[in-house]
């Protein structure tokens, strides 16, 4: 058997693929954070809770109304996105003029409230959510056993990441959004409804988190704690990628997923800190992050 650094190549390829799958979740979540931070300058601490809410929305759609996975993939993000828009409109929008710390504290409080509420109703051991019948089973790739659902996660998240990037960088709506962050007063004077744009942006970010939540539901236990276990890593991804850089968030998400996967082969105990070690190194060498514009 071929080996690299004493690790069989088959195992290495397997871990690279697993890293890519995890990277998909990181990319999708950090993308939402980056969109919100880039356009609203709000550090959205409620992102993990919104991800969890997406998974629960899918679960409740299934158990309460019998709506399955495929419709939930559209409906759950819509629900979470609308919830996000409502919160932005009624509460968060009042904080834009204040120090960014207020937005951070508000979303942090929101995350605790959401998690606490779900914990009250569902406990912490969570609930199972079965993958759709079309995506069950696995394919033997020779070097590893790839569950079909995991393959789907990579495809779906790549497609959504690309879609959001195109929306913001290449469309008229995206141009308005970017202009509104550069100079809201000027854009407003052209007759564009800036507050509405901001509400849409926060809703979009929340919907992305909700989408990741639905994708994650069949893989992980649907539990009120699922978001808080992930959110810190996702923040690190955004910092490494460069706060607010959309392309940076996507690329870094995948890269760090792979770095983490490789660490799990060579030294598993370090797998949950490797991302933070990389973050520290990047902050020393390039304080604005790998893709940050202020460097």
């Amino acid at each position: 058997m071929m080996t690299i650094f004493g690790i069989p190549t088959a195992a290495l390829f397997g871990q690279l693929l697993v890293g890519l799958i995890n990277g998909s979740f990181y990319a999708l979540l950090s993308l939402g954070l980056a969109v919100i931070f880039g356009l609203l300058r709000v550090i959205n601490f409620a992102h993990g809770a919104q991800y969890m809410a997406g998974a629960f929305a899918a679960l409740l759609l299934l158990t309460q109304t019998g709506i399955g996975y495929w419709p939930a993939l559209i409906l759950a993000p819509l629900i979470v996105g609308l919830g996000g828009a409502l919160i932005e409109r009624t509460m968060l929008s009042r904080l834009y003029k204040l120090d960014p710390l207020y937005g951070l504290l508000f979303t942090f409080g929101l995350a605790l409230t959401l998690e606490g509420t779900f914990r009250w109703f569902f406990g912490t051991s969570g609930q199972p959510y079965a993958p759709p019948a079309a995506l069950t089973g696995a394919v033997n790739l020779g070097f590893m056993f790839l569950p079909v659902y995991r393959g789907w996660v990579v495809v779906a998240s790549l497609a959504v990441c690309l879609g959001v990037w195109l929306l913001i960088e290449k469309t008229k709506l995206g141009a308005y959004l970017r202009a509104a962050t550069e100079n809201p007063v000027l854009v407003q004077s052209f007759g564009v409804n800036v507050p509405l744009l901001l509400t849409f942006t926060y809703g979009l970010g929340a919907a992305l988190a909700g989408f990741a939540g639905v994708l994650a539901a069949p893989v992980y236990q649907v539990s009120p704690l699922m978001g808080s276990n992930l959110i810190i890593v996702v923040f690190a991804v955004v910092v490494v990628g460069g706060m607010g850089s959309i392309l940076g968030a996507i690329v870094t998400g995948y890269l760090l997923g792979i770095a983490e996967g490789l660490t799990k082969v060579f030294y598993p105990e370090a797998s949950n800190i490797v991302i933070f070690v990389i973050m520290a190194i990047v902050l020393i060498l390039r304080p604005a992050g790998l893709f940050g514009k202020d460097a």
Binding site: A10, N22, G123, T124, S125, F145, Q221, K264, N272
Partner: protein
């Protein structure tokens, strides 16, 4: 951010003035456990309800004194738990602290209580250290420990032909202890341990670790972790076709609460060890139903164990004629434990309560129509075989 808030809370707890202690006409029991983290269903508010049930069943008072139960969330942090315990003892006249999920917390609070000369009865933590080198004359350990789990699940699977093992171990004291104990049982029975991989606590994705376990070719993959970690590992093992591939999963610490959360679809066929199962006989089923009416869930061994611990404590206070620590401890060591949880249970000199444990298997979907009826009882393991011989525990209190 969370850290900052927590330390503020801890500081506030530290700054609370220590009031003078005096005799009171209350007997107060504190239930200290995880009520918001990954073990909140494993023990949590359900253990508090179990304690309340014990007090009510006992009549609400002992020696003419009213019995009160207080509870708090230690968030699985030993420093927070110690601060709460200190405050309970110093200003709130708490007489005994029980439950204490998470080994690090249980060890810290047991040591503090020994210093303060107060009784602890641990039901939620697993480490054998509590009744080993770090044992205390006022510290008791009910319900289960890593040794009993290892003998139960480890021993049974080797006997069924699962003679090569690979461990997925949580990277902290509890995981190591469980891996070491189980590995020893496997080797003693003639099996071999092929290797182990350590994963950080609260890992969400186990695929890398599962692939390594799969590649090892071991017949049994031992999950030396707990709570959500075990649930996620089992669920993801299904995705990677580990069980279809002929390998067996052994959840070394898994209770009814987690089986319920995971669902029988994913948990079916799993072998595990608990010291209580509600649907084992009429008495336990009756207790289970009463518990269900209050909490909406059936009790696992932690909850039933907490019920037994509180009840035994009250009986000991009654027999001692006082709630003074020295006298109550002596009675706890002396009296047999007879209740819905344990039959003919006895407390060893190292504080270990010895009673039967059960080897259980999770039923297949459709095998039972009764809600929460998840287990087949495969074997009853007598307490003397399940728990470590007190003379070999390393506890300095044991003289022979």
């Amino acid at each position: 951010m969370r850290k900052a808030l927590l330390s503020a809370v801890s500081l506030a707890a530290l700054a609370a003035p220590a009031a003078a202690q005096g005799s009171d006409d209350l007997v107060k029991v504190g239930i200290l456990n995880d009520q918001s983290g990954g073990y909140a269903d494993f023990g949590g508010k359900y253990s508090y309800e179990a304690a309340l049930m014990a007090v009510e069943d006992y009549g609400g008072s002992v020696l003419g004194k009213k019995v009160e139960v207080v509870t708090a969330d230690h968030q699985n942090k030993a420093d927070i738990a110690s601060n709460i315990a200190r405050q309970w003892y110093d200003t709130e006249q708490v007489d005994a602290i029980m439950e204490l999920t998470t080994s690090s917390v249980a060890l810290a609070v047991q040591a503090l209580s020994q210093e303060k000369k107060k009784i602890t009865i641990t039901t939620g933590a697993a480490t054998t250290e509590l009744t080993g080198k770090q044992c205390s004359p006022y510290g008791f350990h009910w319900a289960y420990d890593t040794h009993a789990l290892a003998i139960g699940t480890g021993g049974a699977l080797v006997e069924q032909g699962g003679d090569s093992w690979y461990f997925l171990t949580a990277d902290y004291a509890f995981g190591y202890s469980l891996e070491e104990n189980t590995g020893a049982v496997v080797k003693e029975k003639g099996g071999q341990v092929l290797g182990a991989v350590r994963h950080p606590l609260s890992t969400t994705d186990f695929s890398s670790f599962l692939l390594q376990a799969q590649a090892s070719g071991a017949k049994v993959i031992g999950l030396a972790n707990a709570g959500l970690d075990t649930q996620n590992a089992i669920k993801q093992a299904g995705e990677f076709g580990i069980v279809q591939g002929g390998q067996r999963l052994a959840a070394l610490l898994f209770t009814l609460a987690e089986v319920h959360g995971l669902g029988v679809e994913s948990a079916q066929g799993l072998t595990l060890t608990e010291s209580f199962y509600w649907n084992r006989n009429e008495e336990s089923a009756e207790f289970g139903k009463r518990f269900m009416e209050r909490t909406g869930a059936m009790p696992n061994m932690i909850h039933a164990g907490t019920y037994s611990a509180v009840l035994s404590y009250l009986k000991a206070v009654e027999a001692a004629g006082s709630d003074e620590t020295e006298a109550v401890s002596a009675k706890l060591h002396e009296l047999p434990v007879e209740d819905v949880f344990a039959k003919g249970g006895k407390v060893a000199p190292n504080g270990r309560m010895i009673s039967d444990v059960y080897l259980l298997e999770v039923k297949k979907p459709g095998e039972s129509d009764v809600p929460w009826d998840y287990y087949n009882v495969l074997a009853t393991i007598p307490g003397d075989q399940a728990y470590l011989d007190p003379a070999q525990s390393g506890c300095p209190l044991v003289t022979n």
